[in-house]
């Protein structure tokens, strides 16, 4: 495959398009409401109404507005796209008839809604536009040209340089500068190096990576290939959760297609660069999102973390230098190579560049995926884009960062969304889960929910995390059962501090965050549940009296 062949393929694919395109969202969310049947019915309706010459029905990835799904987008009818919401299989005939001006009662969405208008799409630019199971669709919108550009015109060091200039930081949550990581792996000595894409999206309430993998698998593969070229690796692993069967099957299809066209494999674009990608399927362990645990899992072992250093960049998978990045990080790479690091660095804030995808869920009117520039105030996300809490309730708190993050109270909604500002509030950017809670939510219960999660997911290797999370959960249960005293609360705080500072890996070190942040902002909710301490030095009458 040469660049001319790639361009010819793109042109050929584009010329085959029909005037009107109906895009059927076939992502996991809409699929659960029978999007596959809807697509089939639409195709039948087009045939029956004799519109085959002008209208085509295409499968596309996630459009983002999952709460309003299943979604059908129509292009080519007017200047703006038309969006049908809450489509049911039996609506197909009416929707197709409406293309010719017939009245249709299916709810039509507003493409100018702030939910769409305020977005800035880089990672999700092709989501809902291209067919994720057709490599031609990806090539037609300029896919794999960034890889060609890198392979033929940029030396590896310059690719790293470009990524460094972009200011891109790891999108998995911690926000480590990506360029620095790539540079370290590139400099590490070793004949064999590996690339790992971390698609073990374990945070409950987060589904950005699932959507990217399901909607635009080639974007991630191309990003991985560019990374491999930059650091000198020839083998990549894509670690995906077993809970995402659709993402796995679409990735398998994508890898097969890319190999057939010579865009993966040996001698890519007739250069000496070889790159192969294998999929590794997770098996349901939250801790495997931690990089050293993930590498153990790729090696077929129990997913337990190990102390760092040595960092994976020096000694990672099978003892070789390994580059691990998150799905969203890799999905940013092609845009940076195509448009330059300078361009990317122009988006966002001083220290947090680019965009971030968030899964906006919970007690909020507009559920779905959004991609916004860094630094956007939280209020714009939840109130304007999200439409606030439903049923006339008030937003009480926004939870970011999953079990490692914290609850941001409504009073701080004007905080800009960037790594530093969220960190200052005791939360983290995290991988992108944003769960909104309204005034009916009990914050102590939320803290307990996360603690129970961390207790279950603790791998058991280090004692502070294994025993500490269990004790903290007991204390939270005791508080919720109105059996605890101020002494128990003090003990809980002490344990938080101990687990945070002495655990081996990120899971334990961040497990107390939901408790600490709810204690910081909603302490009165804990104190209301406490019982007066009438029993002298004893914490509770059930405990033996001191001798």
């Amino acid at each position: 495959m040469q660049i001319e062949d790639l361009k010819a393929l793109a042109e050929k694919h584009k010329s085959g398009r029909k005037k009107i395109t109906m895009r059927a969202c076939m992502s996991a969310g809409c699929m659960s409401s029978r999007a596959d049947v809807i697509k089939k019915n639409l195709e039948t309706a087009v045939k029956e109404q004799g519109l085959e010459a002008d209208v085509e029905v295409r499968r596309v990835g996630c459009m983002g507005f999952c709460g309003q799904g299943p979604l059908i987008g129509v292009d080519g009818l007017s200047a703006k796209e038309k969006l049908f919401e809450f489509v049911k299989p039996e609506d197909a005939n009416a929707i197709v008839a409406s293309l010719q001006g017939a009245p249709c009662e299916v709810q039509v969405g507003n493409p100018d809604h702030p939910f769409f208008a305020k977005q800035f799409k880089i990672v999700r630019a092709n989501g809902g536009i291209i067919d994720p199971e057709k490599i031609e669709d990806y090539i037609a919108i300029g896919g794999y040209t960034a890889l060609h550009h890198a392979l033929t015109e940029l030396p590896p060091a310059q690719v790293v340089e470009e990524i460094t200039r972009s200011g891109l930081r790891g999108r998995g949550g911690a926000g480590f500068p990506t360029g620095l990581k790539w540079g370290t792996v590139a400099k590490s000595p070793g004949a064999k190096k590996y690339i790992i894409c971390n698609g073990d999206e374990g945070d409950p309430g987060a589904f950005m990576d699932r959507s990217v993998l399901e909607s635009d698998p080639h974007l991630v593969l191309e990003g991985m290939a560019i990374a491999a070229y930059a650091v000198g690796a020839d083998q990549g692993f894509l670690y995906v959760r077993a809970e995402y069967p659709l993402a796995i099957s679409r990735l398998q299809t994508a890898i097969k297609q890319a190999k057939q066209l010579g865009l993966l494999g040996s001698g890519i674009f007739e250069t000496p660069f070889n790159f192969n990608v294998d999929i590794r399927i997770g098996a349901g362990a939250f801790v495997c999102g931690e990089e050293t645990a993930l590498m153990a899992s790729v090696e077929g072992k129990r997913g337990t973390p190990r102390p760092r250093p040595p960092f994976p960049a020096e000694s990672g998978l099978f003892g070789c230098p390994t580059l691990i990045n998150n799905v969203e990080t890799f999905a940013n790479i092609t845009a940076i190579i195509n448009r330059g690091g300078e361009w990317y660095a122009g988006i966002g804030t001083e220290k947090s560049k680019g965009t971030k995808v968030f899964a906006l869920t919970g007690k909020i009117s507009n559920n779905g995926l959004i991609e916004v520039p860094m630094g956007i105030p939280l209020r714009q996300i939840v109130e304007e884009m999200g439409g606030g809490a439903p049923d006339g309730r008030k937003i009480k708190s926004v939870q970011t960062g999953g079990p490692s993050g914290g609850c941001i109270p409504a009073a701080y909604l004007d905080t800009p969304v960037d790594y530093e500002s969220l960190g200052k509030l005791g939360s983290i950017m995290g991988s992108g889960g944003m769960v909104v809670m309204d005034d009916t939510t009990n914050m102590v219960e939320i803290a307990k929910f996360y603690m129970e999660f961390c207790k279950d997911e603790s791998c058991g290797k280090c004692i502070p995390c294994r025993a500490g999370t269990a004790q903290m959960e007991n204390l939270l249960n005791k508080i919720l059962a109105r059996q605890a005293t101020a002494r128990d609360l003090a003990k809980l705080e002490e344990l938080c501090d101990m687990v945070k500072n002495t655990s081996l890996c990120g899971l334990g070190q961040t497990a107390p965050n939901p408790v600490l942040s709810t204690l910081k902002y909603f302490r009165s909710e804990y104190e209301e549940l406490l019982q007066p301490d009438h029993f002298g030095p004893r914490a509770h009458p059930s405990e033996p009296a001191p001798k």
Partner: protein, 177 residues
């Protein structure tokens, strides 16, 4: 040497000599072909266990030993991996499975009430199967369907925006009620 030899003899008794499993069950053959595809590499253990669970429905001791033997891994290592990951089931599942997602988005939208309703109906706890082997109730950490919370997976099919009533009705339909 004498202390070692009985172990060596024992090894030969294991299904090693042939690729077939003593039971003659064809699924073992399929599993072996799958392992061969991975060149019997030890780091393919998790992939192989996924396949084994797909074939057998759950991972019984016999299957784990078969895998351990073919990948030349100690059974303790295979058992350790199988028990570490939540996805692997060591007990047979019921005819139908009802998996309630308990991710944060589903939880704040009342997934706990869905679980409670099914628990109440079937008189079993999450992770258990009804005594007649009809229905298994399970919970999931987050299936990434947060936009349509609360989500419940019935026999592998995800259903959106579930209520306790809808879930109970669905489970009842399995029970023929």
């Amino acid at each position: 040497m004498s202390a070692i030899s009985p172990i060596a003899e024992k090894k030969d008794v294991k299904p090693a000599a042939g690729s077939k499993h003593a039971s003659g069950d064809k699924r073992f053959k399929i599993l072996e072909v799958h392992m061969k595809k991975h060149q019997f590499k030890q780091d393919a253990l998790i992939e192989v266990l996924h396949k084994a669970q797909e074939l057998f429905g759950y991972l019984e001791d016999d299957v784990l030993l078969f895998v351990a033997h073919h990948l030349k891994l100690p059974p303790s290592r295979v058992y350790g991996v199988a028990t570490f990951y939540h996805f692997f089931q060591l007990k047979p599942q019921g005819e139908h499975t009802c998996v309630v997602c308990l991710g944060t988005a589903c939880y704040v939208k009342g997934a706990d009430k869905v679980v409670a309703a099914v628990e109440d109906l079937l008189k079993i706890k999450p992770g258990e199967t009804t005594p007649d082997n009809k229905v298994s109730l399970l919970t999931a950490r987050c299936i990434g369907a947060c936009g349509i919370a609360p989500a419940v997976t019935y026999d592998g099919q995800v259903a959106a925006k579930q209520t306790p009533e809808a879930t109970v009705a669905r489970v009842n339909s399995w029970l023929g009620i």
